[in-house]
Point group: C2
Chain length 363, copies 2
Amino acid sequence: MAIGPFTQDELDEIYTFAVDLGRKAGKLLMERVDQRISDANGHSNSFEEKENSVDIVTQTDEDVEVFIRSALEARYPSHKFLGEEAYAKGQSRDYLIDEQPTWCIDPLDGKSRPLDLSQLLVVAKTSQDNSTNNHNPPGTVNYTHIFPMFCVSIGFIVKHKPIIGVIYAPFTDQLWSSCSGRGAWLNETRRLPLIHNPTPPMPANAPSQCIFSCEWGKDRRDIPDGNMHRKIESFVNMAAEVGSRNGRGGMVHGVRSLGSATLDLAYVAMGSFDIWWEGGCWEWDIAAGAAILLEAGGLMTTANPPEDVDTAPIEDVRLGSRLYLAIRPAGPSATETGRETQERTVREVWRRVRNLEYSRPGA
Amino acid sequence: MAIGPFTQDELDEIYTFAVDLGRKAGKLLMERVDQRISDANGHSNSFEEKENSVDIVTQTDEDVEVFIRSALEARYPSHKFLGEEAYAKGQSRDYLIDEQPTWCIDPLDGKSRPLDLSQLLVVAKTSQDNSTNNHNPPGTVNYTHIFPMFCVSIGFIVKHKPIIGVIYAPFTDQLWSSCSGRGAWLNETRRLPLIHNPTPPMPANAPSQCIFSCEWGKDRRDIPDGNMHRKIESFVNMAAEVGSRNGRGGMVHGVRSLGSATLDLAYVAMGSFDIWWEGGCWEWDIAAGAAILLEAGGLMTTANPPEDVDTAPIEDVRLGSRLYLAIRPAGPSATETGRETQERTVREVWRRVRNLEYSRPGA
């Protein structure tokens, strides 16, 4: 299969390079963790600890991004490169992906976003814009807390389609990867989704029986109709017993929050999570995960319900939209195609969730 | 150090046996997962899938419990044994731990509890009591979804104190273990908590800067003052910006839900999570985790705030209480002992959470 200017052989070669690069970058992340675990200094009090953590994470983030960028630019000088750190430093949040073959990477996912950093940096070090709709350099969270749900994320996009994805979580040595035409994989040996012989349809009464993945995010403003309350209302609708909440009760089987959009998507691609619904993250958070999910047979569209949830077309996700709804790979039921079971689930989620307000600055 | 009738040498020997047993039991769990991944049958439609999943999980749960029980009874015939499956089959939810040396184990954590099973079993197979305060045989969730957050949990209790704990998550090959007097460990090589040179105090403004671990649980009844709404109100208080919600806004750094009480505790012991607050789980869910957390230097008390949160004594957790609040290991700050920073955090959590209603049948 050829995609854009690339033959399948060329894609295969790029994929192999990306997988190797992901592993190497993940090892860098892990070396720094090991250093911190064995480092006897810098944890003498809470303030110093957090200050140092922010410094360490910022430095790690930048170093790993430079490492990935240098490797890609040396090997593929004609490809465009967009890194999360580069966005942050340039203070630009324009959507920069165009027709060109583009690498969109996040050297360290499982950090914090906006609001948090302003809390962490007791004395702000730079004149950052801390409004919730902008992007700031990294905070800490999973990585500094050594909660294993942190990872490196490398996506390759051609003509706006994510076609190669690599996610590597070094603490637990788990690698998710995909290449258009070659399938999606866990640790290069197990095809995704893991239950795939044949892949089960979405449950007949979805979202009931589904594992629902969602994140509280960093916009914690206690505004009655703000994003936090819209999210919580949506979560409660998805969780409450069937028949409650004016018919919105979804009685999902479980609610999971990992603190990493990238890994949320990896687990949807695996089939571990059935539904992921999120607003506020950026294209570098989801480029690799979207590639893997789509190649595994998942569906990805917008988080925000359209006016007519019953009939609106279910459009492919726009990478830069900041509003995402992902459904796991699904096979046919007795009466539906796999895609139909997914689309039915999308509409059932849309019935239960509120519109979120995340725009791009200038958009 | 001697505990009850045991010398340290005897404890060390029991610990070594328990670690080996945990690994073997975890491998059994993983073998069944591998079987399912490669099994081409039984996933032809949603109903059959779930039916089979319940059967497979029930069978796995029982087999692994029998495996653990047989090994323990052969080696330590004088010790008492309490398994989660045995509780379920006997339909007894009395608290059965007494002064005797007792093993309290869960062959497979990361399953569902009550309500869910009644949803899953479209036709109930046994005359189970599905009320939310009772225990039912396993459902599915993390394990059937192959979300790696499932584990085997083995706790050893002497004179009501959990003194040996083993938690093994076979998918990612992570083992947490502890023995009184010997410390707590990840994979037997890294001492817990992971950041321990010296261990940082709880943040001065906790719960801000903390990772808060909590679970939605299975009681999803949409009753205005029911457990679900009490939990959600508590979560929102912990998450909302400082100064909001009548001073209750805690602005925690992150909210995490893994769907496994056992692993929640393992991550608190690691220092990955700072605070875990939960109601509704049982002694077999937390016995091993409590042992590991306490040996690592964590604190564990009740989830429900006392009348005077400022002055009430902070009592050690009662294993059978079904109401748990855990704080990660913490070192001293410039002005407080580590324990003082933990107790301060307990009171700050109590200020923000509601009382939950989980009793034991007959209690």
